[in-house]
Symmetry: C2
Subunit: 289 residues, 2 copies
């Protein structure tokens, strides 16, 4: 079912190109205009069938869109939303796919012409691989997508955004931008910080003696440093709180080993196993977020 | 090529049963006697073709063995080695597959009758799954196995042990027990501690908002709490040192985010990525250790 005439996708990496692919293949949009900074990425996405049109000019690309999806790195999202808002027609809905929300909402507030709406989205999907060449039509299938409307959001706009993600197979959840950021600090940003510290703390000469446990625990540390720097910078407060909870558990583990207090140690390890087992039982697959 | 007439395997879980399977299928041993505490595990291992004989009595099982491999949990290994040593014939070689080494060596020292030799082994193989039903004939293929001979070790015995692991497809490395424990504290025990702290620090109500990154980072936290309690207890000093290095990196990350110091933050994230990428490029597969 066609939901949109023209969708503009700003930034055609893995997420942007997968969105285009999903929209076109499922006939949810008539046209998908890819907006990028590099001809090469646009060409790859076009060849993959993820776009119907391409342009290097954001203002031109969003002019006729009824939906704009901003898929650029977190540090650029607010600027791209504002630029899109100034150049699209009245009635256009803008969303993004950024890993943080509150800062973006704050930076966009007051910059939207009347008739143009922004509602944040965050699909918990992706992976270590990046770039339009890895686009998947089913990338969002079965994944959680958090949308963050606020008091000013019109029900029609929220319905349209909700339908978009549902049509792509996602499970949509509604939260405030602040709730989102607190949750993702714990479930995504902290794990990345910890994985990076673990990889950085392993002496070079011991890398040969790592096995599956180390490999799993540090896998996300292979992510793009600059992208993660932007995410951390954009979510300082909630990340600090999540880190404090982690340090508290780590200190309790250390203390129980040092004393030793077998019962306390077993209790924490059992709680950890219990939470991990819950996720194993309920999770469908393994995108990163 | 047959290396041993009779091999006794004490403890037939995933590792013990995989050893038996490898020894019999590759015709490296004529007989493999499985020694266990529960009839059921022995029956499963026997049915899988991992054993030729079974017994519940350690003393009886090791009596005719020329090689004894102790595959019980870390906290029981030293006792089982001593019991095996008291009941086997002169000339028998004993090894184990425990995740720590120095404590076991210390607890065994002075308890070996003359003519009976112990050399520690640690195959970096395994997984989240446990039990003889998951035994794999190729579990050790391409994996690192660390052996820890000391000054008293006779070259013939070391050669025999080395040949055993090589015949099973492993890459054998020689270290002192102390070097082993320091290395594995960083590459295996610390990742487990960190994964457990991360899983335990994630509030229950947010488990639904985890994705692949959290799932990877916490995967090993699903391991058996009691087994890991024993490993931590058996390697306190080296674990403390590895934890201190981790906490140093984590503190540096936190500080660089708080200040903010983008350059310092990017530098740590880049180092982490570099180390992770080295392992991705060089590792064969993903057993846990």
């Amino acid at each position: 079912m066609q939901r949109f005439r023209t969708v503009a996708i700003v930034g055609v990496g893995l997420i942007g190109a997968s969105l285009g692919l999903g929209l076109l293949r499922r006939r949810l949009a008539n046209r998908v205009i890819g907006i990028g900074r590099r001809e090469e990425s646009l060409r790859v996405a076009l060849t993959r069938g993820a776009l119907s049109h391409t342009t290097l000019h954001l203002a031109e690309g969003v002019a006729e869109a009824d939906l704009v999806i901003v898929c650029t790195p977190v540090g650029r999202i607010a600027d791209d939303i504002r630029l899109a808002a100034q150049n699209c027609q009245s009635g256009t809905l803008i969303t993004d796919v950024g890993s943080t929300k509150a800062e973006i909402v704050a930076q966009v507030a007051g910059f939207l012409p009347s008739g143009v709406t922004f509602i944040g989205s965050h699909p918990l999907a992706g992976g270590e691989r990046s770039g339009p060449q890895f686009a998947e039509v089913d990338l969002f299938d079965g994944r959680a997508v958090i949308v963050t409307p606020d008091k000013t959001t019109r029900p029609d706009d929220l319905d349209a955004l909700w339908a978009l993600w549902t049509d792509l197979g996602a499970r949509v959840l509604r939260m405030t931008a602040e709730e989102h950021d607190r949750a993702l600090a714990a479930t995504s940003h902290l794990p990345h910080l910890v994985a990076a510290a673990l990889a950085a703390a392993t002496p070079d000469e011991l890398l040969d003696l790592t096995a599956g446990g180390w490999a799993d625990s540090t896998r996300i540390a292979a992510g793009d440093p600059e992208l993660w720097r932007q995410i951390f910078a954009s979510n300082r407060g909630p990340l600090r709180a999540a880190l404090a909870r982690f340090e508290d558990r780590l200190a309790a583990l250390r203390e129980s080993i040092e004393r030793p207090d077998d019962r306390a140690l077993l209790e924490i390890l059992a709680t950890a196993k219990e939470r991990r087992d819950i996720v194993s039982r309920t999770s469908s697959t393994g995108g990163t977020a």
